[in-house]
């Protein structure tokens, strides 16, 4: 029966290993997304050095703002379409306003499409992944500064930067209560 025990132990550790692997898929997926631009995850506020003699070209950028369900804020971008050039820095202002009579916490989730363009969309300043608290009636304007990498593949003539605003007041309260 010794051999059987050994087999069992091996199999049990395989089970444990695969359970952990299930969770490991989360960071693996994130890394994978960052490399491939899957789902338009942007690589964050990094900026790379360019060759002085890069060829800049024209590119159209669409700005999309969405509220997720039950999000009552007014959330708009200063412009919806921008004719831009690669390699040049631009700033677009986004306005947030809480029209309700209670304080709310929101989070804006960015998404760039097409996915293969995401890694060329360098934000130097943005409000993504920052929780934002607004008092009743408070209004706030925040900029997104970005540069489109001149290495952007030529078959991507247009990029869309989408922000979806989520109401996270409840989970924020939950989190604070647990701390």
């Amino acid at each position: 029966m010794k051999a059987a025990t050994k087999t069992n132990l091996k199999l049990a550790s395989l089970v444990l290993g695969m359970f952990c692997f299930g969770f490991a898929l989360v960071p693996i997926y994130d890394v994978f997304c960052e490399i491939t631009g899957l789902n338009g995850k942007v690589s964050g506020p990094t900026i790379t050095e360019y060759d002085e003699n890069f060829n800049s070209r024209e590119i159209k950028i669409l700005f999309v703002t969405k509220n997720n369900e039950n999000m009552a804020w007014n959330f708009t971008s200063e412009k919806r379409i921008l004719d831009a050039e690669t390699g040049t820095a631009y700033t677009v202002d986004y306005t947030f306003e809480n029209p309700t009579d209670y304080p709310m916490v929101a989070q804006a989730i960015p998404s760039v499409s097409p996915g293969k363009g995401a890694q060329y969309f360098h934000k130097t300043e943005c409000f993504c992944f920052e929780e934002q608290l607004l008092q009743p009636g408070e209004k706030l304007t925040m900029p997104v500064r970005f540069i489109i990498d001149p290495d952007l593949p030529s078959d991507v003539p247009v990029l869309t930067l989408g922000y979806t605003l989520f109401d996270i007041t409840e989970s924020h309260i939950k989190l604070q209560a647990s701390n």
Binding site: N39, G40, K60, L62, V64, K66, N67, N68, E69, N70, A72, R80, I81, E97, P99, T100, I109, S111, V112, S113, P114, K116, G117, G137, D155, V156, P157, V158, T160, G162, T164, F166, T169, E170
Partner: protein, 378 residues
């Protein structure tokens, strides 16, 4: 055995004749109305016929085996159990057939994934259970709801030709222009599908997917949501109306004009009857799913409106609920989906219908009040 054979023959006859009676369009994929959809259709037919041939050969060979090698008296079955050359041959053969299918599929795939710029960009948002269309260039935005009424769905009224495939306001696009769709969702995952365009793209909250189409001919094209999105998943059709570029411009201008008109309407003097009538229609489209036709709701999840103290006596709170939605409940904000007139009308309707008129304060709400509510927040 005769009996079994007869049943078998009947079955085959059924399978063959049904599609014949039904007509090709009812049993096969649509070739669609643009280059990509036709290309996908051709690809589909290619692989379909390859599969039919393979299937016919395999099943035909099976029939031969069944007939030729049925057990007979004094049979001596062969005892061979492998044939490496033959096995290698068919393995290679499979690989070749697969390659034949994969090559055209790859080229079609590349063409489907074309990120070129669009003449018109339309943001499509899936909501439980309706689609929202926003034209990014023209700042036109509206919701597209199922137009089939409950009587048809409940088998009370006869069903119209486009039962469950009709909406109150279709997406309008111009022909011969490249249309880019940006697709996202507001709550759960939906999927936007128009078979004639060969566009099926999941709408995922927080993410923007893209798809594109270019339609050569005018017409009305119908599709549906194809990702299970909750109880009314089957009731959120997609209707796209392709019109000539000239008509499209006219339509866009009308939409813009209507937006201005809407603002003026809120200034007008309204009678209770007018509001009640509009409100009833709004209620039928937007509210009955949860609050039911009789206003009884489906407690505890969807509260009753008939006899509700809030609806009877608290006008201000009711406006707030419609404008802001209810935190943590299914009630969403209608501030952006419905016009001021519609919101005022539907509140008026709920305050007057089902005997609420008699038991409550009976006050009506006019569009101006909704506009004021909006403005006060600014």
């Amino acid at each position: 055995m005769m009996f079994i054979k007869r049943i078998f023959a009947a079955l085959i006859a059924c399978c063959v004749s049904l599609p014949l009676f039904a007509g090709w369009g009812d049993v096969n994929m649509t070739p669609g109305v643009n280059a990509l959809s036709r290309e996908i259709f051709d690809l589909h037919m290619t692989i379909f016929w390859i599969c039919v041939v393979i299937g016919a050969l395999v099943l035909g060979f099976m029939v031969y085996l069944i007939v030729a090698f049925r057990k007979k008296e004094g049979d001596k079955p062969a005892q061979f159990d492998d044939h490496p050359v033959l096995e290698m041959t068919w393995t290679v053969l499979f690989a070749v057939i697969l390659a034949v299918m994969a090559i055209p599929a790859t080229f079609t795939m590349i063409r489907a994934y074309d990120d070129a710029e669009g003449d018109i960009n339309i943001l499509i948002t899936g909501h439980q259970w309706k689609w929202q269309y926003e034209y990014l260039e023209d700042e036109v935005s509206f919701f597209s709801n199922l137009a089939t009424d409950l009587d048809q769905r409940n088998n009370i009224a006869p069903k119209s030709d486009n039962y469950l495939l009709e909406v109150d306001e279709p997406l309008v696009i111009p022909t011969n222009k490249r249309i880019r769709f940006l697709i996202t969702a507001n709550d759960v995952i939906h999927s936007w599908w128009v078979p004639d365009f060969a566009v099926k793209q999941d709408a995922i909250p927080g993410f923007i997917n893209t798809a594109w189409t270019q339609v050569d001919e005018e017409g009305i094209f119908r599709g549906q949501c194809t990702e299970l999105c909750g109880q009314y998943h089957g009731y959120m059709p997609v209707v796209v109306k392709a019109v000539s570029p000239e008509d499209y411009d006219v339509w866009v201008n009308e939409k813009k004009e209507a937006k201005i008109q809407q603002a003026l309407l809120t200034e007008k003097l309204w009678s209770t009857e007018e509001l009640y009538e509009i409100g009833e229609g709004v209620y039928q489209t937007n509210c009955v799913a949860c609050h039911q036709v009789n206003g009884e709701g489906l407690p505890p999840v969807f509260p009753a409106l008939a006899g509700s103290d809030l609806v009877l006596n608290d006008k201000a709170k009711q406006i707030e609920i419609l404008m802001e939605g209810v935190q943590g409940a299914a009630m969403q904000s209608y501030a952006e989906q419905l016009s001021e007139v519609d919101i005022a009308a539907v509140i008026t309707y709920t305050r007057k219908a089902w005997g609420n008129d008699a038991s409550g304060d009976g006050e009506i709400v006019i569009p101006k009040e909704i506009l004021d509510y909006k403005n006060n927040k600014l």
